[in-house]
Symmetry: C2
Subunit: 500 residues, 2 copies
């Protein structure tokens, strides 16, 4: 047990440094004055490096081997040892100089990307993006040789432990085949449906903020262990013991900020529901970004877009926005919240077309990493793929391959998480309602107790004791099941007219 | 130069860790939800320990010796080497287990102090305070033997490099002798003076905040490199490149929050005026807490309480608080801002009686550290000293020895900084006005350009290139000069009636 104890201490230090860096990143997005970026970058560089060193020391292999040789009895500790090894492999497989070169390259590429996107100028980004792809491929190769995986799988494993290309390829192939006719049918049905009234603002920002805090509170967000602030790009950061989520406000459109808060609160409830005793160890973290996304989508897409909750939201939003008690109708909210259309920008896409955007990226990022697609050919390949898969051809790179921050920051293998999350959310919501048919009527009263209880019992409290598939199997009887998402879309948009 | 370069890198890392911890401490005071204290304490413990280790490694002595053997040519680098050695002595002189024991003891004693003060229960604090005094004495002994100083001087040197008990004792003896008759004369004069109107609120908090930001901006606070927020105990934290200052608001009393902002802005201007090129090295920091305090008092006590600035403040406060253009008079503000009385609480004391409160603490903390005063006898000794020196006897320990956080947190040797700052502020303001007689008329317009320019030229830009006395000598022709403070008090309160 001495070896395990030693590892426990090192991962504790790793966590404290990482969570300190996460708090500094939250501050950079939500609080930091604009002129302090140089200092912050240097602070983060130091903290991230020390966090890395805490679990990548040369004697870690021996320490892990010793712990494996006399493993702990407790099942959580055993699972923690597995999670420790995985974290160590990702940290130690890559030579330090390659880590550093890639960190430098992605930092400078992200800056270049901001300008390139604003000015729709892919050429200015090309050399730096080539460097990032090249270095990320080398990172993937280093990990692949240690982990016995393909390069893409080794990269994706950082975000989605245990999920493999061989599993994703048929899943996405099926979505690529079956989603377009569903989308066509929805678009056609919505064109025929009677038009509900348009939401016209302005909606005062401070009233939107009050509404957002009200909803987060109803959902169970614990304001004694977290905050809600404003940032340009909403996110849920901080740490499980101190969750910092953000949103942004637009006077013309309160629904986006409100559903954004619901989304981030879904992430936050997951973090807040992780077992306190394991908060600072690898087994106490979420098992993958897909399952994290499933918890935000469970709330934002599954629960908050039910006719029941939209009815509650119409009432409470009317009051909090100072519009008078019946100014908003469920139908008006549904018209905006459930609108389906083939569009160009992923982050604005509806839940029916969203997986098509992911397919474009999943296809192209594998080709970039394998070298089958040269970075210089990305703009055209992106437009072609969008036209083929989503059914819309971007006229600019700003609306094409420059729209996402992921590749410039080296996050290859992340995109599938969004669709894994959407599928898992559909599975979990169906299973929750089956287990407790009162959930929809609770949502009609703005009550989340039963749904949150289900999520906590079947997902949150298990942290990374099992991987995503293991958790889904235990919760729903099946691993990742694309049918659940297709069924959900058909039911909500084609069979049950009440919500559209 | 290789040794110097190596040291430069280590102190860079030390600074980045320390400033990260400082940001987390600001967050804990101004932003953090109440339930996240455990995580924050653990994060801070890790960051402070790593910062310590970065400059306390076993080979530091050899590294410093090598750098001394072939010192850099540049005068800033040479001064930096001196400052590095000083920082190293303070970091490395104390055995690691003693550092750790004291950190644990002060953390738990601070918590106990919060309760003890609230409940006026010194007995509950006694065992923990005894432990802190005992461990702090051991720390002082360890430093004293390395530094060739007395125990008290070794402790005080951490806050006030180069300032010694032998210099402070006659200084405080003189203040103890000469201040009481001045205070008596002021109190008598103020009792005879015609009464200006009382300030009656409520003053809306958001309007006070706007007024505070207006004044900070007029003073030259750079909001692209800093923020102003709210915390229970106002302070100026963060880092020179990212200054985080706070204030607190009271609807019944805007003057305290406004003058608090002026005070913290004085600290902030010092930080923001330090040379950017040296921001992360020891020579680029302030040379001592007394000089830091001099910059806040230069603004809050010297500049902002002149009749000229109070006239400006009356006008601008009337407007920003929405009271109508002439609702406040200079006389009304002066009545509150210049009120002198013998009182019990140090932090609320006026500038004339404040040094008497410090004398009480300077006397008692030396006796505690030497062992001449047993901790159990502190309550009575504190009441006796207050009665003798300040002229008021506290009826409770809450208004007596429990009022300050310093001793429970082990900060012995800090208190003199407040009076060093007050003296230096009086010297610097007199020298500034002598150098530029237009300063008062600028203050009458809310202009700080010339005063800030003087402070920057004579104090800020030199950072820790010289010690406090060295900076004062170069600026004013004299080292710390108690006459300047006495002269200032006589002039403001006894000779020049216009401000009272």
């Amino acid at each position: 047990m001495a070896a395990y104890r030693e590892l426990h201490q090192r991962f504790d230090r790793h966590y404290l440094l990482r969570s300190s860096a996460d708090l500094l990143e939250w501050d950079a997005q939500a609080m930091m004055p604009e002129g302090s970026g140089d200092l912050r970058a240097a602070q983060l560089g130091t903290l991230r490096l020390l966090a890395h060193e805490a679990i990548a020391a040369p004697d870690m292999a021996a320490c892990l081997a010793a712990a494996d040789a006399s493993p702990p009895e407790d099942p959580w500790e055993r699972a923690n040892l597995v999670a420790m090894r995985r974290a160590w492999v990702h940290a130690a497989a890559v030579p330090a100089d390659l880590v550093e070169a890639r960190t430098r390259a992605t930092s400078s590429c992200e800056l270049a990307w901001r300008t390139a996107r604003r000015e729709d100028d892919f050429a200015s980004l090309l050399p730096q993006l080539e460097e990032v792809v090249n270095l990320t491929r080398q990172v993937g190769q280093a990990k692949a040789s240690v982990m016995g995986l393909s390069v893409y799988d080794a990269l994706a494993d950082e975000y989605e432990p245990g999920v493999r290309e061989a599993m994703l390829t048929p899943l996405f192939a099926r979505l690529e085949r079956e989603l377009p006719p569903i989308v066509d049918a929805i678009v056609e049905a919505q064109a025929r449906a009677p038009k509900a009234p348009v939401l016209t603002g302005p909606f005062a920002v401070d009233r939107q903020a009050t509404l957002g805090r009200h909803l987060a509170g109803r959902m169970g967000f614990d304001f004694t262990r977290g905050r809600l602030d404003v940032s340009e790009h909403p996110f849920c950061g901080g740490a499980a013991e101190d969750v910092r989520m953000t949103t942004r406000y637009d006077e013309a459109d309160f629904l986006t900020s409100v559903l954004g808060v619901v989304h981030e609160t879904g992430h936050a409830l997951y973090e807040m529901g992780l077992p306190r005793a394991w908060a600072r160890q690898p087994v106490g973290q979420v098992p993958g970004m897909g399952l994290h996304e499933s918890q935000s989508l469970l709330m934002e897409m599954q629960a908050a877009r039910t006719p029941e909750f939209l009815g509650y939201l119409a009432g409470v939003a009317s009051v909090h926005l100072g519009l008078g008690p019946d100014a908003l109708s469920r139908e008006a909210l549904a018209r905006h919240a459930l609108r389906v259309e083939r569009s160009l920008i992923r982050v604005d896409a509806d839940e029916a077309t969203y997986p098509l955007h992911i397919i474009v990226r999943f296809t192209l990022e594998r080709a970039l990493i394998s070298g089958d697609l040269a970075v210089k050919d990305l703009p055209t390949a992106f437009r072609d793929a969008m036209e083929r898969v989503v059914g819309r051809r971007p006229g600019t790179d700003r609306e094409g391959c420059l729209q996402d921050v992921h590749w410039p920051t080296g996050a290859f293998g992340y995109f599938p998480s969004y669709t894994i999350g959407a599928i898992a959310a559909a599975q979990l919501f169906a299973a929750a309602v089956e287990a407790d048919p009162a959930i929809p009527s609770e949502l009609a009263r703005g009550e989340f107790t039963s749904l949150r209880g289900y999520a906590h019992e079947h997902v949150h409290q298990h942290a990374a004791r099992w991987d995503t598939n293991g958790i889904l199997e235990r919760a729903t009887g099946r691993g990742l099941d694309v049918d659940a998402l297709l069924r959900h879309l058909r039911r909500r948009y084609l069979e049950d007219a009440s919500g559209s």
